[in-house]
């Protein structure tokens, strides 16, 4: 059996804001059905890397290959590509003027051009998966943070993406609400979703991740199995960071 093709790949990826070089040549690849945790100190470029993966941030150099397609090539329709790369944000970013169902169906109707009843059906199915069927007609401001984040996950899932990106999905939540979101992510993982997760939920990473990559100052310093990274880091910077967050 030959080695599986990566679904997402970054080659020598660079991003600068003015003179600040935030990503300094990232090489990263993600296999189908893999779950990778991205950890590292604040400001190390984790969010920027994630946002380059769907070109919310425009890279200043290097390549991103998604499912065999070069995302930087000028004749790529980035909007259809983005539908295959789901994203979940730290601040949920639900649309406050739309109901939960409409939040989920907007892109289905306007980009995938599904008719309302089909889109509503998909929304109902997704809400069932995140355990929020009864909130279909609620507005975001009637939900707790944890519920909002689960709706945001449902919104991304509804488009049947091939990869999902999570940027600190639980760090804006009260501690008692974190569990419900992690549970949904675990279920997603069990269903075989390919995921990149920026998060410092160490226990979850240990249980669920296939791989952990440690970033510092715009570079991936070290990567490996969760056990290896957390118990036996090789690099000084990784050691310092791991001992910092496990305290």
């Amino acid at each position: 059996m030959d080695t599986p093709q990566p679904i997402l790949e970054a080659q020598d990826l660079r991003k600068s804001f003015g003179t600040l070089e935030v990503l300094q040549g990232i090489n990263f690849s993600l296999l189908p059905q893999e779950m990778v945790f991205l950890i590292g100190p604040s400001g190390s470029g984790k969010s920027t890397l994630l946002r380059c993966f769907n070109r919310l941030e425009e890279p200043t150099g290097g390549k991103i290959i998604f499912d065999g397609v070069d995302l930087m090539s000028p004749d790529v329709n980035i909007n259809t590509m983005r539908q295959q790369i789901g994203m979940v944000f730290q601040q949920f970013n639900l649309y406050p003027h739309l109901s939960v169902t409409k939040n989920i169906t907007l892109a289905l109707r306007k980009v995938s051009k599904k008719d309302s009843s089909e889109a509503d059906e998909i929304a109902r199915e997704m809400l069932k998966r995140v355990g929020l069927e009864e909130k279909a007609n609620a507005h975001p401001d009637e939900l707790s943070g944890g519920q909002q984040q689960r709706v945001a996950i449902a919104r991304a899932m509804a488009l049947e993406p091939k990869v999902m990106l999570f940027d600190e999905p639980t760090s804006a939540l009260d501690p008692e609400l974190v569990g419900s979101v992690l549970q949904v992510m675990q279920k997603l993982r069990d269903s075989g979703m390919t995921m990149v997760v920026v998060s410092h939920e160490m226990r979850f990473a240990r249980d669920a991740a296939d791989r952990v990559a440690f970033m510092s100052e715009g570079q991936i310093v070290e990567e490996g199995e969760p056990g290896a990274i957390f118990e036996n880091p090789q690099q000084k910077r990784t050691q310092d960071f791991v001992s910092e967050i496990s305290r």
Partner: protein, 233 residues
């Protein structure tokens, strides 16, 4: 001062400002003026706000030459007195081959002015929406225009309602400037009738027409302002 003199002064006052014969004679003209004022006002409100919204949306693409143009357009129309623009368009344009009726000039000028103010207000509203809303929408594959239409504008509208209402009312009242270029709106009908009759009654009728027309508008504006309480922090 004896009673009979008081009476005669009162009579003189009503004779001059509320002369029944003149009220009968000129109410038709004033009614026509009201109609024209309303026509222009409605046209200006629709074209002005639509154009302002369009410009604000265009501006969100952040395409430099277009943004410079929009900024200059807005600044110039906010800096110039409406009457200057009206005179310029009405008397100036014919000399380069564009003859427009007073009605058209008034509509055009007031619409452009309202568009400029509306653009500023909509743009401030668009800027007030957090970046996360753009990112969430774009990450699900919505394009720029779809994001603006379905996600950003519906949220921005809320904070634009109050300032936009006030500005719209203020600009709509400028329809009275049409009298200078012979548009037969209320003030024009009233002043014409006044100079014909040599009596202040038509002017009083015109003033009352404006008050009857605009007091409800101002009151609605006040209600909207409290309803959509929009305070700068």
């Amino acid at each position: 001062m004896n009673t009979s003199e008081t009476f005669s002064r009162w009579d003189l006052f009503t004779e001059t400002f509320f002369n029944q014969r003149l009220i009968d004679e000129y109410s038709g003209a004033i009614a026509k003026g009201i109609l024209i004022t309303c026509e222009i006002a409605v046209l200006v409100v629709f074209t002005g706000i639509a154009l302002g919204l369009l410009l604000a949306m265009l501006r969100s693409y952040r395409f430099l030459p277009i943004n410079v143009f929009i900024s200059c357009f807005v600044d110039i129309l906010r800096s110039l007195p409406p009457l200057v623009l009206i005179l310029l368009a009405y008397f100036g344009l014919p000399s380069i081959g564009f003859s427009m009726s007073g009605f058209l000039v008034l509509w055009l000028v007031l619409s452009l002015i309202l568009a400029a103010f509306a653009e500023e207000i909509f743009w401030a509203g668009i800027l007030s929406i957090r970046r996360g809303q753009w990112e969430a929408a774009r990450s699900t594959g919505l394009g720029h225009t779809q994001t603006i239409v379905y996600v950003i504008i519906p949220q921005a509208i809320r904070m634009t309602v109050a300032p936009l209402t006030n500005r719209t009312i203020a600009i709509t009242k400028n329809t009275a400037l049409g009298t200078v270029i012979g548009v037969g709106e209320i003030l024009n009908q009233a002043s014409t009738a006044q100079s014909f009759s040599g009596n202040a009654t038509p002017l009083m009728m015109g003033a009352i027409a404006y008050i009857v027309l605009f007091i409800p508008v101002v009151a609605i504006g006040r209600w909207i302002e409290t309803r959509f309480a929009w305070r700068r922090i």
